[in-house]
């Protein structure tokens, strides 16, 4: 059963957590369009820059770690 879910996960979403989150985000938007206008507008207009900010934060921390590592090597 676990293998089956792993297979489904790989086929549908791939192994990237970012992609998985993006799929969830799209499903959430899809639901919100029919459920709540304000929520759908907020999700798209604020959610995308917020997602970019989170992504960039991790990129920056990773880069800073690498620079720090090189500096102390």
């Amino acid at each position: 059963m676990k293998k089956f879910f792993m297979f489904l996960w790989d086929v549908l979403i791939g192994q990237s957590p970012t992609m998985a989150l993006f799929v969830v985000f799209l499903l959430f938007i899809d639901w919100s369009i029919s459920a709540n206008r304000l929520l759908s507008v907020l999700l798209l207009s604020v959610g995308i820059p917020l997602g970019l900010a989170v992504n960039l934060f991790f990129v920056a921390v990773k880069e800073a770690k690498a620079r720090n590592f090189l500096k102390h090597k």
Binding site: S40, L44, S45, V46, P49, A60, V61
Partner: protein, 255 residues
């Protein structure tokens, strides 16, 4: 009127980045080989592009439904816009080197010069001329990107005239700058343009993709200005946060 101006501005900014890149290549080819040959390459590419634009423009504006276009184009602009915005933020925060047009020009110059030395003195076909080839490829590639911008912006807004005008203005102004300056465009704040373009493309991308999937924006087209404001705020806010992350080595050590 506001939407018309916004479309002209978006197309102008997006196209000017591509035009600056095309001009860089043509100038490099002209200096290294000869301006006559480089201009021949550039104009040949322009002829190909005009034919291509005629075919693609008609196909996109007449046969494809607006909702599908908005989803596809919105997604396309969103992907490109977020990419540009991401790079612009990383540049502003000091994580990525600023794109130096002068350095790019020198590299291109020495590459063509080296190729030209090989063919110098021998009678060569124009199509095999490195100056012609480089200018042709550069203008074709960047010009095609301008066509994509014009078609995508034009078909989504149904303001093809405004978008074409913006792109044409960008090409003419960058061309004029190239004629007057006739050297590298280091003075043009390309990185600032890229940041603005990132914000504009992301905002238009979110707007159209949202419309395509059925989101009903408040204020209709005016909501674009709100989106632009949100993305500008995000640009500055994230740049400041990231520059702090870069500076605070203690934070990194504690990870």
């Amino acid at each position: 009127m506001g939407a018309f101006v916004a479309a002209v501005l978006a197309a102008f900014l997006a196209s000017s980045v591509e035009a600056v890149e095309a001009l860089t290549i043509v100038l490099a080819a002209g200096y290294a080989r000869s301006f006559k040959v480089a201009l021949q390459g550039a104009f040949s590419a322009l002829i190909v592009l005009v034919l291509l634009a005629g075919l693609l423009g008609e196909a996109v504006t007449n046969f494809i439904p607006i909702r599908a276009v908005r989803i596809i184009v919105g997604g396309y602009l969103l992907i490109f816009g977020l990419g540009w915005l991401k790079k612009a933020i990383l540049r502003a925060a000091g994580f990525k080197a600023l794109h130096d047009e002068d350095e790019a020009f020198k590299e291109e110059f020495s590459r063509i010069k080296a190729q030209s030395e090989v063919v110098k003195g021998s009678k060569v076909n124009l199509l095999k001329d490195p100056g012609f080839n480089t200018a042709f490829k550069g203008v074709l590639l960047e010009g095609f990107e301008i066509i994509l911008i014009v078609i995508s912006l034009g078909s989504s807004t149904r303001k093809l005239l405004a978008v074409s005008l913006g792109a044409l203005l960008a090409v003419l102004i960058v061309g004029l700058i190239g004629v007057v300056v006739k050297k590298q465009l280091t003075k043009v704040p390309e990185n600032l343009i890229k940041a603005v373009v990132g914000v504009m493309l992301t905002s238009f991308g979110v707007f159209w993709a949202g419309q395509g999937v059925g989101v009903h924006w408040y204020l209709n087209d005016l909501f674009l200005l709100v989106l632009i404001g949100i993305n500008i705020t995000a640009f500055f806010f994230v740049s400041v946060i990231l520059s702090r992350v870069k500076d605070v080595s203690k934070f990194v050590k504690s990870q």
